[in-house]
């Protein structure tokens, strides 16, 4: 309709003008600088400093310790970022640990079987080393991917919720791993895998697996914030019905997400094999839960529509820092489980309703009785956008 430019209303005054730019900067600061990621990063650094101060000879602050830390963190950080993506789309995968184990078992078996005659392999001689490692690594990655795709197919085609689906495949994956190994870990993984990847470092202290994961995380951040795939992930998690009515290929998208995260688990299987030159059947049981906890501590909600990639990195790091610190202090690492549990609950509680309330408001609310003064009974209710909780 004809309108004079002068009475054009400022549809979005923020575009371009100086005042708008300031407002955008403030908004950017609000969403990025004060975001959970930064908050958790500060906690991480604080923990590092505390451990540095109290470990004998400040052992925690030595460069070699950061190498160990990076190595220990690489798997869980990757799984945590993957989980954040799934949570963003309002799905989750609790079978990740089983996937890691199964992938490493398949990769390990392939390496041992293709390495050469059994007698040679048992002496650490691999006539077909390159082929064995290559096929083993690809086999592990393919297993992880396939595991994830199976999860995705069950969720999208059979319409079983992802919680139940992955609870099921968690058991199936563990069972298969035991069947394939008769319950004993696979030995005789070529040690070259260790020296060339698992324990290799760049510049003398940056572990190659950790570097790999950091690169993947950077790609994930880009994917989330700059691409159609990221936008659609958020849309699908924010409102499934909206996504459907906008004509998004929801099933294909979810399948891709589950496959991607499964592929990450496969990579973790490779990292596992190459670090320890064996499988770890009894480890990784709680990996998926730790990964989800890391993602949630880092600011991703369980209810879709928000992903904090770097938050997941720092959230997962928190668990690893606690673990390593307690080991150096000679304390049982069981305390790490307790601490992470407490932090998880505290983080979600403090974050609920931050738009209306300061952190101090939330803290002081702790002293009030629930139900009396204005709605603290529903910590986290603001995250319930989009209706019922479907886990």
């Amino acid at each position: 309709m004809p309108r004079r430019p002068a009475d054009r209303p400022p549809a979005a005054a923020a575009l371009g003008r100086p005042a708008g730019r300031l407002r955008r900067a403030v908004r950017w600061g609000g969403t990025h600088l004060l975001s959970a990621a930064v908050g958790i990063a500060v906690v991480d650094v604080g923990l590092v400093l505390v451990f540095g101060a109290i470990t004998p000879g400040h052992a925690f602050l030595q460069l070699s310790n950061f190498t160990d830390l990076g190595l220990d963190a690489s798997e869980i950080v990757l799984l945590s970022c993957g989980s954040a993506f799934l949570l963003g789309a309002r799905e989750l995968d609790i079978s990740l640990g089983a996937n890691v184990i199964l992938s490493s078992v398949v990769g390990g078996r392939l390496m041992v079987a293709l390495g050469g005659p059994t007698a040679d392999v048992q002496q650490g001689i691999y006539p077909h080393l390159t082929v064995a490692v290559l096929v083993g690594v690809l086999g592990a990655l393919a297993t992880g991917l396939a595991f994830g795709l199976v999860n995705g197919l069950i969720v999208t085609r059979l319409r079983v919720t992802s919680f139940i689906t992955t609870l099921g495949t968690l058991g199936i994956g563990m069972g298969l791993s035991y069947v394939l190994t008769n319950g004993s870990n696979i030995a005789y993984i070529p040690s070259q895998l260790q020296t060339d990847f698992g324990t290799a470092t760049v510049a003398g202290w940056i572990p190659v697996p950790a570097l790999t994961v950091v690169l993947i995380v950077a790609v994930l951040w880009f994917l989330l914030n700059r691409t159609r795939f990221g936008l659609r992930t958020i849309a699908i998690g924010s409102s499934r019905e909206t996504a459907r009515r906008a004509g998004l290929p929801i099933e294909r998208h979810l399948l891709a997400l589950f496959g991607m995260v499964g592929g990450f688990a496969g990579l973790c299987g490779v990292i596992d094999l190459s670090r320890f030159a064996t499988t770890d059947l009894s480890g990784h049981q709680t990996d998926a839960l730790t990964a989800i906890a890391g993602a949630v501590i880092g600011g991703t909600t369980l209810y879709g529509g928000g992903v904090a990639v770097w938050g997941a990195v720092f959230g997962a790091l928190l668990a690893v820092i606690l673990d390593v610190g307690l080991v150096i202090l000679g304390l049982p690492t069981f305390y790490q489980l307790i601490a992470v549990g407490v932090i998880l609950i505290a983080a979600v509680y403090l974050r609920s309703g931050t738009e209306r309330r300061s952190v101090w408001g939330r803290l002081s609310a702790l002293t009030r009785r629930p139900g009396r003064s204005g709605g603290n009974t529903q910590a986290g209710s603001e995250e319930l956008v989009g209706g019922e909780v479907e886990m």
Binding site: A12, A13, R23, T227, R232, R244, R245, V385
Partner: protein, 257 residues
């Protein structure tokens, strides 16, 4: 009627034991504004969702520009140039205004970035801003999230989205319910200009007097059936109310003429 862009024939739709549509039929022609009216629960929203492919009917058929919409699919309807403002707006709370307007129609960079699907964010922000400007909507910012907007602002975003992507027909379910007088007038103007451009416009509303001013035809739905299909020249407020409520109820509700 001009060449029809949307035809709905004998639609049936059942929800459990509720029959929302019981053989309702209607059509919208090129450049025509059709008002769909009826009591609460008459089946208007259901009819609209069936017509745009968001919901499959149990019986009957929908044609868009002569092509049968089968099976029901929003994607097919969108490709045929039909877009919708739903009664519940259907916006994702976490997306920004610009993202909401472009969801499903994202603009991506070409060249080496094309396979990655890298979003042309500035372009989408600018175009979204233009689309809103045309509707005369004041928003806090184009980067505001939908959940931060008022009901009327959200309605405007849904409207801007539908206007932007419709090529043949635009369907609106109570598009002015949350709007003030001035905003409502702008929406009405927008519908008129869409019709002038040759789009078929189907609008659901309870604002009978306004519909009488705007619509070329008024279709009345009652208990899932089409009970009246009136040209503007033959439509009166009383006639419509009578058709909406049915003879018996109307005798009790409306004053005798």
């Amino acid at each position: 009627m001009a060449e029809p862009v949307i035809e709905a024939c004998r639609l049936w739709k059942r929800f459990g034991h509720v029959e929302a549509l019981r053989g309702a039929s209607m059509a919208v022609g090129r450049g025509e504004i059709v008002a769909l009216v009826g009591d609460n629960g008459a089946g208007k929203s259901t009819l609209l969702k069936v017509v745009c492919g968001a919901m499959a009917a149990d019986g009957g058929e929908v044609r868009i520009a002569g092509r049968r919409l089968e099976p029901a699919s929003v994607i097919t309807a969108q490709r045929l140039g039909v877009d919708v403002v739903y009664q519940d707006l259907a916006l994702a709370p976490h997306l920004t205004v610009a993202q909401s307007i472009f969801l499903g129609h994202e603009v991506v960079h070409g060249g080496w970035r094309a396979p990655l699907g890298v979003l042309a964010r500035q372009r989408m922000r600018r175009d979204a801003d233009d689309a809103l400007r045309v509707l005369g909507i004041v928003l806090p910012a184009i980067d505001a999230r939908v959940q931060e907007l008022s009901g009327g602002q959200q309605q405007a975003v849904a409207m801007a989205r539908a206007v932007k992507w419709s090529r043949r027909a635009i369907l609106l379910d109570e598009p002015t319910a949350a709007l003030g007088t001035k905003q409502t007038q702008i929406v009405i103007e927008t519908l008129r200009s869409a019709a002038r451009r040759g789009l078929g416009v189907l609008v659901i509303s309870h604002d009978m007097p306004r519909m009488l001013q705007v619509a070329d035809r008024i279709v009345v739905l009652r208990h899932g059936r089409t009970v009246a299909d009136l040209h503007r020249s033959e439509a009166t407020l009383q006639g419509i109310v009578l058709a909406m409520l049915g003879e018996e109820e109307a005798r009790g509700a409306a004053p005798p003429s």
